[in-house]
C-alpha cells in the first residue's frame, strides 16, 4: 500500500504547530485529545474505584481485572479497524456466540480436537470477515446492514444449534487459555493468559497502524474518494479490516469459553460494548481519526465503570440506567476535549465561535468530491 504516500503528503500540507512543542508539551496536548483523554478517564475511574473499595488497589486484583477485560479490549481493537475505515461491524457479538458454541459442541471433552477445532474457528472467523468485507465493498451494501444481516444469520444458527440454551463446556485444558495464567509471579501473583494475548495483539495492532496498511485504512476512512484516487484498493483494505474484526471476535470467543464457559448469551451485546469502547477511546464514528490503543483503553474504562458501580453498591435495577448516562456523559466530554485539544488551526479564522460543524466546513483541498 505504498501508493498511499502521495495522499498523506497532500493532507499534511504544512508543518503542524504541535511538532514545534517539547515532548512533554506534546504529551499534554495528546491527553487533551479524545484519544488521550480516555487514559485520563481510566486513571480517574481507577482512583474512584480504589476509593470506593481499597481492596481494588491490590496489584493482584488489578491484574486479574485486566485479564478479565482482555476479551472486550481485543474486540474493541478489532472493531477499531472497521470503524476507522468508516464502517461498522455489528456481527461481532454473534461471532463470539457462534465461536463459543462451536468450541463447546465440537471440542467437548476430547483434548485431541483442540488444535483442529481452534484452526477451524479461526478459519470461520476469516470467512465471516471476508463475507462482511465483500458485501460492503463489492456489493456496495452499507456495512451497517451487511453486518446486521450477518449478526442475525449467525444468531439464528446459534439458536438452531443450541435451541438458545447452554450446552456442555469444552475440555478444561482448552479453557485454560481463558481461565489460567502464569502463576507465582512476584507482586501481582498471577499474569492471566488473556492479558498476555491482549498485550501481544495490542503491540501488533499498534505496529500495523504505523504500516502503510494502517495509514491507508485511516485515509480511506477519512476520505474514501481521495484514497481511491491515490490508488489504494479500497475493497481489499476494508475487507482486511473486517477480517481483523471477526478474527478479534474469534479470539475473544476463545478466551470467553475459557473464562466463563459455554452459553448462548456469551458475547451478547459485544458489538455495542466494543463500539462504545471505540467511541470512548476517541475514535470518530465515520472513520478517519483515532488511535487503536485508545480503543482498548476505552474498553478498560467501560469495564472499570461496571466495577465502580459494584463497589458503590448501586441498586441492581438502576445499574443499567446509570451506566447509560455515564457513557453519554463521557462521550460528550470526550467530544469537548476534541474541540479543545485539536491542533490549532493555521488560519485561525473561526477560533472563538467554532462549533464542531464549522470545523467540518473547512474545505480540504483535493477532497471535494461526492461522497459515497
Amino acid at each position: 500500500m505504498t501508493t498511499s504516500t502521495p495522499l498523506l503528503e497532500r493532507t499534511e500540507r504544512a508543518p503542524l504547530p504541535e511538532h514545534h512543542r517539547s515532548w512533554t508539551g506534546r504529551a499534554a496536548a495528546a491527553l487533551a485529545t479524545p484519544g488521550g483523554a480516555v487514559y485520563v478517564l481510566v486513571v480517574a475511574l481507577l482512583v474512584a474505584t480504589v476509593l470506593a473499595n481499597p481492596n481494588f488497589g491490590d496489584p493482584g486484583v488489578v491484574i486479574r481485572f485486566l485479564g478479565r477485560t482482555a476479551p472486550i479490549a481485543i474486540a474493541a481493537i478489532g472493531q477499531y479497524y472497521v470503524i476507522v475505515s468508516g464502517e461498522f461491524d455489528l456481527s461481532m457479538g454473534a461471532v463470539v456466540a457462534a465461536q463459543v458454541v462451536m468450541a463447546g459442541n465440537l471440542i467437548g471433552e476430547d483434548e485431541s480436537r483442540i488444535l483442529p477445532v481452534t484452526l477451524l474457528m479461526l478459519a470461520v472467523g476469516v470467512l465471516i470477515g471476508v463475507l462482511n468485507g465483500l458485501g460492503t465493498t463489492l456489493l456496495g451494501v452499507p456495512s451497517f446492514i451487511v453486518t446486521l444481516g450477518m449478526m442475525l444469520a449467525l444468531g439464528g444458527l446459534v439458536d438452531h444449534l443450541t435451541g438458545g440454551a447452554a450446552t456442555g463446556n469444552p475440555a478444561d485444558s482448552f479453557r485454560e487459555i481463558g481461565r489460567g495464567g502464569i502463576e507465582d509471579v512476584p507482586v501481582v501473583d498471577v499474569i492471566p493468559y488473556p492479558l498476555i494475548i491482549l498485550a501481544v495483539l495490542g503491540a501488533l495492532a499498534s505496529w500495523s497502524m504505523r504500516r502503510p496498511f494502517g495509514r491507508s485504512l485511516v485515509a480511506a476512512g477519512d476520505n474514501p474518494d481521495a484514497a481511491r484516487v491515490s490508488g489504494s484498493s479500497l475493497w481489499w483494505l476494508k475487507t482486511r479490516a473486517f477480517v481483523i474484526s471477526s478474527l478479534s471476535a474469534t479470539v475473544a470467543g476463545i478466551i470467553l469459553v475459557g473464562y466463563a464457559g459455554v452459553h448462548p448469551s456469551v458475547g451478547q451485546g459485544y458489538e455495542f460494548t466494543a463500539i462504545t469502547a471505540v467511541v470512548l477511546g476517541g475514535v470518530v464514528l465515520g472513520g478517519g481519526r483515532g488511535w487503536v490503543l485508545s480503543a482498548a483503553a476505552g474498553a478498560v474504562a467501560l469495564e472499570l465503570l461496571f466495577v465502580l458501580l459494584t463497589a458503590l453498591g448501586v441498586e441492581s435495577t438502576w445499574r443499567a440506567t446509570v451506566q447509560g448516562l455515564i457513557i453519554i456523559a463521557a462521550v460528550a466530554v470526550a467530544g469537548r476535549a476534541w474541540q479543545r485539544g485539536r491542533r490549532p488551526r493555521r488560519t485561525g479564522s473561526s477560533s472563538a465561535t467554532s462549533s464542531r460543524h464549522l470545523t467540518h466546513h473547512q474545505p480540504t483541498p483535493g477532497t471535494t468530491t461526492g461522497d459515497n
Partner: protein, 412 residues
C-alpha cells in the same frame, strides 16, 4: 461532499450512543420512580413495572405457599405430575368426547434449558397420547419470549386453528390475560400452565407451588447455614417475570428478617457477567453465600470462587445437572431447589382426563420439593449420561424414548 459526510457521521455517532443507552436501559414510559429494567427481556410493557421486590411481595400468597410446602398431595407420589392439593374442581362432563383432539399449544419460548427439557418431555408424552388415540395432533406456536407474538399466536389459534383444546404457557402475566380470555370465550377447554394469568376463566391452571415456596426453601437454607451479618450475593436472571420476582421477594424478606446482608444482580444467565460480579464482590469483601433465582450459570459462579482461591460459599442453585455435578465435585454446602419440570407433562394428561369427562383441579398445584445433599447421589445416578442442561426432576422416566431422547437432547 466532505461536509455532509462528516456531519452525518456525527449524527450517526449521536444516534449510536442514543441507541446504546436505550439498549443499556430499555426505559419505557413508566413513572420516573420506576427503575428501568435490564435489556433483553420483554415484559416491560406491563403496568406492574419492575421495581423493588416489595411491589411483588404479597403476604397472603407468601403465607399460602409457605403452608403448601408441607401440604398433603392427592395421588400417587410415584407420579408427581398427576398429584395435586385438594381444592375446587372443574366439572368437565360437557367436554367428554370419543374423538381424538386437536391440541393448540401457545408456548412462551424454549429459550432456556428448563423450558427445553420440559418441551422434550411434553413431546414424548404427546406421542403416548397420540398412540392412545386421545390426541390427533398438537399444533405449537413458539412466541420466542415476545408478548405480542404470543397474543397473535393465540388469536390465530382461535380464528384459524380449528382447535379442540387450547394449551397456553403464558409469556407474561398481565399482557396475556385478554388473549386467554378470548380463548375461553370459544367455549373449548383452556389449560394454562407455568406462569399465570389474571383471570380464572381457564379449565385448569397447572403450576408447581410457586416462587415464594422457592424463595422460602432457599433463604431458610442459607440462613440456617450462615451467621447473622454474613453476605449473600443474589444472582437473578431478569426482572419482571412473576415466577422469578416472587422467588426473590420471599428470599429478600427472609434475609432481612435474619440479618443476612443480601445484594442482588441481574445477570441474564450470562456466565461472563456472573463471574465478573462474584469476582468484584469477593474483591470488596467476604461472600459467604450465593443465592440464585435459577440455576443456569451456577457453575460460573462457583468457578469464580475457585479462580480467586477462596473458600466455597453456601449456595442454592437448581436441579439442573450442571449444578448437581459441580456441587458433588466441590463438596460445597448447597441445596438444589426445584421448579418442578415434570409439570410439562401435566397439561396433556389433563386433556386425557377432560375428554374422559373426569373432573380436574381448577388450580392444579403440583409438588415442588428441593433436592438435598442426601438425595443428590440418587438423582445423579438416575440421570447419568444426561447433558448438563438436563433437569433431574424432569419426570419422564416411564415415557417412550427414555433415556436416549433426553440424552441426545434433540429439540423437537
Amino acid at each position: 461532499m466532505r461536509t455532509p459526510l462528516r456531519s452525518r457521521s456525527l449524527r450517526g455517532a449521536v444516534a449510536s450512543v442514543a441507541a446504546l443507552a436505550a439498549l443499556a436501559a430499555c426505559s419505557t414510559d413508566e413513572s420516573i420512580d420506576d427503575p428501568a429494567p435490564q435489556a433483553g427481556e420483554e415484559s416491560t410493557s406491563e403496568s406492574e413495572g419492575s421495581g423493588g421486590s416489595e411491589e411483588w411481595f404479597v403476604q397472603a400468597d407468601f403465607d399460602e405457599q409457605d403452608q403448601q410446602r408441607s401440604a398433603t398431595f392427592e395421588g400417587d407420589p410415584e407420579q408427581p405430575y398427576l398429584q395435586y392439593i385438594d381444592g375446587e374442581m372443574t366439572d368437565t362432563a360437557d367436554y367428554a368426547s370419543q374423538e381424538a383432539q386437536k391440541v393448540c399449544f401457545a408456548n412462551a419460548s424454549i429459550s432456556n434449558p428448563w423450558r427445553q427439557t420440559g418441551w422434550i418431555t411434553m413431546n414424548q408424552q404427546l406421542q403416548e397420547l397420540q398412540d392412545a388415540g386421545v390426541i390427533s395432533e398438537m399444533e405449537t406456536r413458539d412466541a420466542q419470549d415476545d408478548d405480542n407474538t404470543q397474543i397473535a399466536d393465540i388469536d390465530y389459534f382461535i380464528s384459524e386453528g380449528n382447535c379442540d383444546v387450547f394449551v397456553i404457557s403464558p409469556n407474561s402475566t398481565a399482557a396475556m390475560t385478554p388473549a386467554v380470555e378470548r380463548a375461553c370465550e370459544t367455549g373449548k377447554p383452556v389449560i394454562v400452565f407455568d406462569r399465570g394469568v389474571e383471570t380464572d376463566c381457564y379449565t385448569t391452571f397447572i403450576h408447581p407451588i410457586g416462587g415464594y415456596a422457592w424463595g422460602i426453601d432457599t433463604a431458610n437454607f442459607l440462613v440456617e447455614n450462615l451467621e447473622e451479618g454474613d453476605k449473600v450475593v443474589a444472582l437473578r436472571i431478569l426482572p419482571g417475570v412473576d415466577v422469578l420476582e416472587t422467588r426473590w421477594a420471599a428470599a429478600e424478606k427472609i434475609f432481612e428478617e435474619n440479618g443476612i446482608e443480601a445484594v442482588d444482580y441481574f445477570t441474564g444467565a450470562d456466565p461472563t457477567k456472573i463471574k465478573g460480579i462474584i469476582t468484584d464482590e469477593l474483591t470488596k469483601g467476604d461472600v459467604a453465600g450465593v443465592w440464585m433465582d435459577a440455576g443456569d450459570g451456577a457453575v460460573a459462579a462457583i468457578e469464580a470462587f475457585e479462580d480467586q482461591g477462596v473458600d466455597y460459599p453456601v449456595m442454592t442453585g437448581e436441579d439442573e445437572m450442571s449444578f448437581l455435578r459441580k456441587w458433588e465435585e466441590t463438596g460445597l454446602t448447597g441445596l438444589a431447589p426445584v421448579y418442578s419440570n415434570f409439570q410439562w407433562r401435566t397439561p396433556l394428561l389433563a386433556i386425557q382426563k377432560i375428554v374422559a369427562g373426569e373432573e380436574v383441579p381448577k388450580e392444579w398445584v403440583l409438588p415442588q420439593t428441593p433436592i438435598t445433599e442426601e438425595e443428590r447421589a440418587d438423582f445423579l445416578a438416575a440421570n447419568e449420561g444426561m447433558p448438563d442442561g438436563h433437569y433431574a426432576k424432569f419426570g419422564g422416566e416411564d415415557l417412550t424414548g427414555y433415556p436416549e431422547v433426553w440424552q441426545e437432547r434433540q429439540i423437537p
